[in-house]
């Protein structure tokens, strides 16, 4: 039986891991390669890196981080943030990442999904979605709208329709981030996650709002997510990977228990 994946997420700016709330007030919390190794050894099932380096010219710093991570850990990891072209995808994959995630670039140019899938395989392409609850309307029938620029810009696109379109274009996985829940530590957006995950055939990673192991249990069962992204709850030592996994195991969620 397939295990539910627990995935630490590292925001990286100019080669250092940072953490902010709702994309603001970022503080330095360590070296991404060292943190990746720590999580690998602690039983992380995968790792997600978001490059939040503002300047596109400094992308080489991230490629260097990716290369070092690939020499250090032997589980899959993905890289997102600032991926705009096939060339950006190729750089990250050749440096050793398993997957690339595209978010606002795909909103602006959906063809990047199909081009990436054709060039590197569907399994390489993760569609990142930032979503806000706006209430149902004619334009947004699901009540959830796609936003970009860290939640500042509303795109007038329905989140469910976009998820289905992303799948049709060849995305191999969806990373679904609720801007409303992000940084709150009050739990994942269960309604949204359940809606998207039960409507698509590809795996869905839930993101935003994790603060307690119970939140992971809820999103992996009730929310029907295939994987759960975590950040501050482990970055600051509030919980460890083994704490979370043994809780989930105890709660009957199938997780990878040996590594």
């Amino acid at each position: 039986m397939l295990s539910k994946r627990i995935i630490p997420c590292l925001d990286v700016r100019e080669g250092r891991t940072t953490k902010g709330i709702k994309f603001k007030n970022n503080v330095d919390i360590g070296d991404p390669v060292e943190m990746a190794l720590m999580y690998y050894e602690a039983g992380a099932d995968e790792i997600v890196f978001y490059d939040i380096t503002a300047s596109h010219e400094k992308r080489d710093i991230m490629i260097d981080v990716v290369r070092k991570v690939a020499e250090t850990i032997f589980i899959p990891f993905s890289v997102g943030g600032g991926i705009r072209t096939l060339e950006d995808m190729r750089d990250v994959l050749l440096a050793g990442a398993e997957k690339v995630s595209v978010n606002s670039a795909a909103v602006r140019n959906p063809e990047i999904i199909s081009q990436g899938a054709a060039a590197f395989g569907n399994q390489c392409i993760v569609l990142g979605m930032d979503v806000k609850h706006v209430g149902k309307s004619e334009q947004i029938p699901s009540g959830y709208e796609i936003v970009i620029n860290g939640g500042r810009k509303y795109m007038g696109m329905d989140a469910l329709a976009w998820a289905l379109k992303g799948q049709a274009l060849g995305a191999g996985e969806i990373c679904l981030n609720s801007i409303d829940a992000d940084g709150t530590k009050d739990g994942y957006e269960l309604t949204l996650t359940e809606l998207i995950s039960s409507s698509v055939d590809i795996p869905v990673i839930a993101s935003g709002g994790a603060g307690h192991p119970v939140h992971l249990r809820d999103v992996l069962t009730q929310g029907k997510a295939d994987a759960a992204l975590i950040a501050s709850m482990v970055h600051y030592g509030t919980y460890t990977m083994p704490d979370i996994k043994s809780y989930l195991d105890h709660e009957g969620v199938k997780i990878r228990s040996a590594w």
Partner: protein, 209 residues
């Protein structure tokens, strides 16, 4: 020296990096002479069966792989590399190498025909294996060890004695197949943490009888 066969099919560097990490000398290559002289062969791959077969044929690597298997040297297939060892794939109805008799099946078709619902495709993530018999390449693994899979198709040899392990995803499918000097995993040992590195280490010293 292990030759990791390069045929433009996905992330070969991760196999090479994992081998280097456990101090196993290796080279990523499509040079037929180098493949002939290598002690062992790893045949990895990510992507679609049809385009992979085209690349292999264009580079003359289809013959090189057949020869390696016939020569008796240890050969390890990984993921798409495993599927291509069979005769034919349901993916684009691609004709494959035919080293092992059998076909590559789609999860989507078997799920539909058996009325299995609610399972995502690809089968992506960590899952266990159930070893059918002891095998030196898979020695030293724990029962609850898990391995990283990402695939929408799975190998199905005609001769079930060539199934070394199975995995449960809606159905019980072959996750390791092999015969004589050939072993092939549907999962990615190079991305499966310590249990995966154990397999690569075992393979690098395996002497098939």
């Amino acid at each position: 020296m292990i030759a990791v066969i390069d045929y433009d099919a996905g992330n070969l560097t991760s196999v090479s990096r994992a081998l280097s990490h456990i101090n196993v000398e290796n080279v990523i290559t499509n040079d037929i002479k180098l493949i002939e002289s290598a002690e062992r062969i790893i045949f990895p791959g990510v992507g679609a069966a049809g385009s992979a077969m085209k690349s292999l044929t264009r580079l003359g690597l289809d013959k090189a792989i057949r020869q390696a298997v016939e020569s008796g040297k240890p050969v390890l297939g990984i993921c798409l590399g495993t599927q291509i060892i069979l005769q034919k794939s349901q993916e684009n109805q691609a004709k494959c190498l035919g080293i092992i008799d059998g076909t590559v099946q789609a999860f989507s078709e078997i799920f539909q025909s058996r009325g299995i619902k609610g399972l995502k495709i690809p089968h992506m993530g960590w899952n266990r294996i159930d070893l059918k018999a002891d095998h030196p390449v898979f020695a030293g693994l724990k029962e609850n060890d898990e391995f990283y899979f990402v695939h929408g198709y799975y190998p199905l040899p005609d001769n079930l004695s060539q199934v070394i392990a199975t995995t449960d995803y809606g159905i019980e499918f072959p996750s390791i197949i092999g015969m004589n000097n050939l072993v092939a995993t549907q999962f990615h040992p190079e991305k499966s943490g310590n249990p995966g590195l154990t397999i690569l280490k075992n393979f690098s010293s395996w002497e098939p009888c």
